[in-house]
Amino acid sequence: MKRNLLAEIMLGLGGLLTSAAFFMTFFWAAPSSYPDGRVDFAQKIFYFHVPVAEASFLVFIFTAFYGIKFLTTRERIYDTKARIATEVTLFFVLLTMATGILWTKVEWGVWWQWEPRLTTYFILTLLVIAYFVLRNSVEDEEKRAVYASAFGILAFIDAPISFFITRWLNSIHPVVFGAGNSSGLEPPMLITFIIAQVGMLMLGYAFYQLRLREEELKERLEALKIEIGD
């Protein structure tokens, strides 16, 4: 019961923070500008694109984590948790892709560019989709859970590669944090970003918990149906 309430609080708070960050993006954080002084309006998408991207990486950790837990304990709930974590990952991955493509069109003049970050992230998208394709093609329940867990763990290996590749290789994808000593963001920009990021993670947590609750209710319903049927 306690956990359920927490999920609702997180949902409200996350919605509030991300909405607040949305207004702060346009009315408070100063627009960044190109070296020649023109205003770089497209940069505004940073306050949405980066939070969803970070969330996609962070939630994907749970796919691998619960995959390992399932394989070691064989308790079905961990497989359900891994599946829902992957669902939430897919949601964030698609948002990241959509916003990223809009930004590359404005900033680089093309919708798509095969550069290291985009390529590895595209692979990540395919792996997350493949996870569900695999689940759908196995009929036996135990096999499905074991295979999905194993594949989730293998697929997760791409996440750190995609995350760190802009820091290893020459990439035209911007690296805002961790490249040098400071991020170069002015305080209003940084605060707006942090609020958006925290709000997005809260939303991610809420989506996960609420979906899990839905799934548990479904299972209870199925069990009750069988009971009545007998």
């Binding site: 395919l126 074991v146 293998l154």
Partner: protein, 235 residues
Amino acid sequence: MERSNSWRQFKAILRKDLVMELRTKEMVTSMGLYALLTMVVYQIALAEAGDTFDVRLVMPGLIWVAFIFMSMLGLNRSFVHEKDQGCMDALLLSPVDRPVIFFAKFAGNLLFLMVVELLSLPVFSFLFLQGRAGIGNPIWLLGVVLLGASIGISGVGTLLATMTVNTKGKDVMLSVLFVPLMYPLLRAAVGATFAAVIGGPGTVQTFWLFMAWVAGFDVIMVLVAYGLYEFVVGV
């Protein structure tokens, strides 16, 4: 004592695969034929490129595309047999350690893949590279990439094929799972092959840089596949 026992089991499973292959010649023939057909498709792809086009520029990509699809054909075959003839069940019933099964199947798949790769490379150069600029660097470098990348392909492939053979769309499922997972390895293999083929100052260094990437991928992926195999086999 225990180690020699595992070694004997490993040899027995590998020998079984080799004997079966020598009798039916099914895997090498179908993989080799597939590679040959791919070459025909490549001729179509390059048909309008003209005589002055340097095929070496696209050769690394072409051969690895052929090898990755060829490997999936072989991997799928190798496990369809195990399943259809009930061989996997017998293996699981016998007191053989699961990791031994993994390494024996892995070694068998690696061997068949390498054989077909080594046969199809000369065919590729016979068909596409005659009368053009040759391989820039010592040819044994190509052997190094072939071995390095094939280890990763067979290692992960053995794990995935064990799973996909029990799914609805067997071979389609294998490619859906396999190709994206193999991306980092294939990218590095193409980079290394390109450095070996083109030649010139600095390319040997580039070659080893890409090979380090291949080796890193091999170590991580084969270890993970080995760790997961025990759970995946026999559910």
